[in-house]
C-alpha cells in the first residue's frame, strides 16, 4: 500500500470536509441574519468568506500535487477529480451566502415588512441538502447522494412559488418592491446553493460508482 499517497488522499478529504463545514456555517449564519435582522451575523459571513477562499486554494494545490506526484488511477483518480469539482462548488456556496447577507443588509436598512415567503424553511431544506451531500462524501455513500438529487426539485418548487407570490405582492403593493426584490434574490441564492449541493452529490456518485449522472442520465464509460 502506498502510505504516503493514502495520507495525501486522507488530508485532501479532511480539508474538503473542513471547508464544507465553513460553507454550511455560512448558510446558517446568513439564514440567522435574515431571521433576526441582526447585522452581526452578516459580518460573520463576510469575514468567514476569506477562510473559504483560502481553503479552496489549499485544496486545489494539494490535489494538483497528488495528480502530479502520484499519478493516481481508477477510484483514486475519480476521487481527486471529484474533490476538485466539489471544492469549486463549496466556494460558490460561500459566495451565495455572501450574496444573501448583502440582501439582508439592504432589508434591515428599511423598516420590517411582512412577506408571504418562508425563507427560513427554504434555507433549512437547502442546508440539509448541503449537509447530506457532504455526509455522502464523508462516507462514500452513493445512495445518500442520490437522496440529495431527489431534494433539488423541492427547493426549485419553493423558489418558483416564492417568485409567484412576490411578483403578485410587488404588483399589489408598490411600497414593498424593494424588500420583495431582496427576498426574491435570496430565494434565488438559496436555489443556487441547492444546485451546488446537487453537483456535489453527482460528483460523489461519480467517485464511488464511476457513473456520470449529470443532466439526468446515468452514463457509464463503455
Amino acid at each position: 500500500m502506498r502510505s504516503r499517497f493514502q495520507q495525501g488522499l486522507d488530508e485532501l478529504k479532511e480539508k474538503l470536509l473542513r471547508m464544507g463545514g465553513l460553507a454550511e456555517q455560512a448558510i446558517d449564519r446568513a439564514t440567522e441574519a435574515y431571521r433576526t435582522r441582526d447585522p452581526k451575523y452578516c459580518q460573520m459571513v463576510l469575514t468567514g468568506e476569506n477562510a473559504i477562499n483560502e481553503a479552496e486554494r489549499e485544496i486545489d494545490e494539494l490535489a494538483l500535487d497528488l495528480l502530479a506526484m502520484q499519478q493516481p488511477m481508477a477510484i483514486d483518480l475519480r476521487f481527486i477529480l471529484a474533490v476538485v469539482k466539489i471544492n469549486a462548488d463549496l466556494e460558490r456556496v460561500g459566495d451565495q451566502a455572501v450574496n444573501i447577507t448583502q440582501r439582508v443588509l439592504d432589508l434591515i436598512s428599511e423598516p420590517p415588512i411582512d412577506l408571504p415567503v418562508d425563507i427560513p424553511k427554504m434555507a433549512d431544506a437547502v442546508s440539509t441538502m448541503v449537509q447530506r451531500a457532504l455526509e455522502s462524501f464523508l462516507d462514500g455513500k452513493a445512495e445518500v447522494a442520490e437522496a440529495v438529487l431527489q431534494m433539488d426539485g423541492i427547493v426549485d418548487r419553493m423558489k418558483d412559488e416564492a417568485f409567484v407570490v412576490l411578483v403578485q405582492r410587488m404588483h399589489d403593493d408598490p411600497a414593498s418592491v424593494r424588500a420583495a426584490l431582496d427576498v426574491l434574490l435570496i430565494a434565488r441564492n438559496l436555489e443556487r446553493i441547492a444546485d451546488h449541493a446537487t453537483n456535489i452529490a453527482e460528483d460523489v456518485i461519480f467517485w464511488v460508482r464511476g457513473a456520470d449522472v449529470r443532466h439526468g442520465g446515468a452514463h457509464f464509460r463503455e
Binding site: M73, A74, I75, R78
Partner: protein, 252 residues
Amino acid sequence: MGVGIEVKGLNAWYGKNQSLREIDMSVPANHVTAVIGPSGCGKSTFVRCLNRMHETIPEARAEGTVKVGEMEVYGDTDPVEVRRRIGMVFQKPNPFPTMSIYGNVAAGLKLNGFRNRKQMDELVERSLKLAALWEEVKDHLHKKSGASLSGGQQQRLCIARALAVEPEVLLMDEPASALDPISTSKIEELIFQLKQHYTVVIVTHNMQQAARVAELTGFFLMGSLIELDKTEKIFTNPADKRTEDYVTGRFG
C-alpha cells in the same frame, strides 16, 4: 498491415509450474494492446507464447490455440516462420555487437535467405525510418557498430531489425524499462506510429506507459487474464476489484 490475434484456452508451464491458465484473448489488428500485471503474473510468458519463444526455454511448454491472422501459431507452421511474422523486442537492447548498424538491420533478412543488395538497402532504410532512427545513423551505416549507439538508439535499432523482415505483429517486452525518459518518450511515440502498419502487443510494468501508448489493456494476475478492456476504462473505472487494487497500488 497488421493482423489480429485470437488466443483460446492457452496454458503454459515451466516444468511442473503452470504459468498461464486458460487465456482467451482477442487482440485487434493495428492497435496497441498493453499487458500489465505484477511480477510473475505471466504477462511475459503470454507474449512469448504468441511467437513460440516460450518453448525455447528447456522444460517449458504451451497448449492452446493462438491464431495470428490466418496462421495457426501452434499448428504445422515452422516456428522460424512464426517468428518472422511476429517480431519481438526485448527489455534490454540486444544489437549484435560486432555488426555494423546496417548489418544489424539486415541480419534477419540474410537469415531468411535474402540476397538482393539493392532491395536490402531499401528495406534497411525503410526499417530505420520506421524506427525513427534513420536521420541519426544514415551517415555511418557501415562505419559504426550497433553497440556504439546510445541505449535508446540501440533499442530503436532492435526495433528496426525486427521490422526489416516485415512482420505483421510486433511484441515488445518492457521495451523502454532500461531507457532514460527522453529515449522512453521516443520509443513510446514510435509505438504509437507503428500501429499504422503493425499490431503491437507491449508488456509493461509502467502503468503510465500503458495509459500513454495502448488503446487496450489486459490485466494479468497469477497466470490468468483478469480483465481486458479499453485502456481508459482500465485506468479510470475497471470492472474487476483486483484490477482496481492493482492500478491504484493497493495490491498485495
